[in-house]
């Protein structure tokens, strides 16, 4: 059972790994350490009409105007690892100026397979907690175990450099794992859920 992180005022990460038969073999959860400056810039764009600076996945700086606020997209399609929830192998601790997942594991038909994102803007939670939900399923279609240390949330905005990092975390603070990484054995699948959350 995943323990709810009721005091987490950030992204609650939850993950589950299933074997070939669909049986749950490991799971974990942790509170994010990193929304990035790009995420703060989006909030600024929402609250008043001034252009904001955002940094794309190559660390190039672009000016984003408010007309693009309705074009933010995290719902990446199957096979697209340029945005949505992205996995990587770097374990450097997150920083506010992170601009991309540092060592992305690419989508592959014979390795880590990225399924389509699922997003729901509907707020859930009760009492002092509210969150919305983003999730993605991955499958190891290769013959070797895949080990990852980092997870990011990328957004597609059709201006400037197109792909912008909103959050990046390492798995080192995950509870219930026992290691500072997560593994997916051949034929196994992973469901990763992000719950951006506020608490009063």
């Amino acid at each position: 059972m995943i323990v709810p992180l009721l005091m987490c005022r950030s992204i609650v990460h939850e993950f589950k790994v299933y074997d070939k038969r669909g049986r749950l073999v490991r799971h974990g959860s942790f509170c994010s350490r990193s929304f990035t400056r790009n995420f703060v810039a989006l909030q600024r764009l929402l609250l008043f009409d001034v252009n904001v600076a955002m940094w794309d996945r190559t660390n190039a700086k672009y000016t984003i105007s408010r007309e693009y606020i309705d074009d933010v997209d995290v719902a990446a399609d199957e096979g697209n690892y340029y945005y949505g929830i992205i996995l990587g192998t770097n374990n450097t601790q997150p920083a506010a100026d992170d601009y991309w997942v540092k060592a992305v594991i690419a989508h592959s038909d014979t390795g880590l397979y990225y399924y389509a994102m699922s997003v729901s803007a509907e707020l859930k939670g009760e009492g002092d907690v509210r969150y919305f939900t983003l999730s993605r399923t991955f499958e190891n279609k290769g013959t070797d175990t895949i080990t990852f240390y980092e997870v990011g949330l990328g957004a597609k905005i059709p201006t400037g450099g197109t792909y912008y990092l909103l959050a990046r975390d390492t798995t080192s603070t995950a509870k219930g794992v026992g290691e500072d990484y997560v593994t997916i054995e051949p034929g196994y699948s992973l469901v990763w859920v992000m719950k951006p959350q506020i608490v009063v």
């Binding site: 929402l46 609250l47 008043f48 606020i69 309705d70 729901s120 009063v200």
Partner: protein
């Protein structure tokens, strides 16, 4: 990492000398704000909010994107004398709830009482060298123009001016914080309150 809003203030006397400084601790975003954020991140067309009158209203994201008219329809930056939106203060002491949609008891703008000056904002999102936080700020000053009455403040809030999908202008509370009795802000006649709201993501490990 913690995503929240922090209110900071400075009280200056009639001569401009700083009499008191403080930080209003709390986390204070309310449900309305997260509905707006989830709409943006998830690319939804619209979201339902509760306005300061307690009415359910719908806001369209495309209207925010195309908001190029003057004065702006979607903003928290209020002009002088406007207390309907922007940074606002009140005298209510009710505890903050996620579903709050108004201040418990807002103190209105007055030429002979609490005078609301115009708002301003920081030019950029700031990331200090420590790289553990990213933030931007909005500012407002309030002046007690009464000659003989203190203004006592127990609550602060941030209200978003928006346009409902029906076309009407609405006001939506997005953050509220309440000060305990021992930390209430007392503004004497002639004194100035400089209030700052810092919207930030800060690296704080929480479980």
């Amino acid at each position: 990492m913690s995503s929240h809003i922090v209110f900071e203030y400075v009280i200056k006397d009639k001569r401009g000398r700083v009499r008191k400084k403080g930080v209003i601790k709390g986390h204070s975003f309310v449900e309305n704000y997260w509905k707006l954020v989830s709409m943006v991140v998830c690319g939804q067309d619209s979201t339902g909010v509760t306005d300061v009158n307690g009415n359910s209203k719908n806001i369209n994201l495309i209207d925010i994107a195309s908001d190029t008219t003057e004065p702006l329809s979607f903003t928290v930056i209020a002009d002088e004398g406007i207390d309907a939106y922007g940074l606002v203060v009140g005298s209510g002491t009710d505890a903050v709830k996620m579903t709050d949609y108004k201040l418990a008891s807002k103190i209105s703008h007055s030429d002979t009482g609490l005078y609301y000056l115009g708002m301003s904002y920081s030019e950029e999102v700031t990331v200090p060298d420590t790289k553990d936080v990213a933030y931007f700020e909005v500012y407002r000053e309030f002046e007690n123009r009464s000659t003989d009455t203190d203004v006592v403040i127990y609550e602060v809030g941030l209200i978003y001016k928006a346009k409902a999908s029906t076309g009407e202008t609405i006001y939506v509370l997005i953050a509220r914080e309440v000060l305990p009795e021992e930390e209430k802000i007392t503004l004497k006649p002639g004194e100035l309150l400089a209030l700052k709201a810092k919207i930030q993501n800060k690296a704080i490990e929480e479980t």
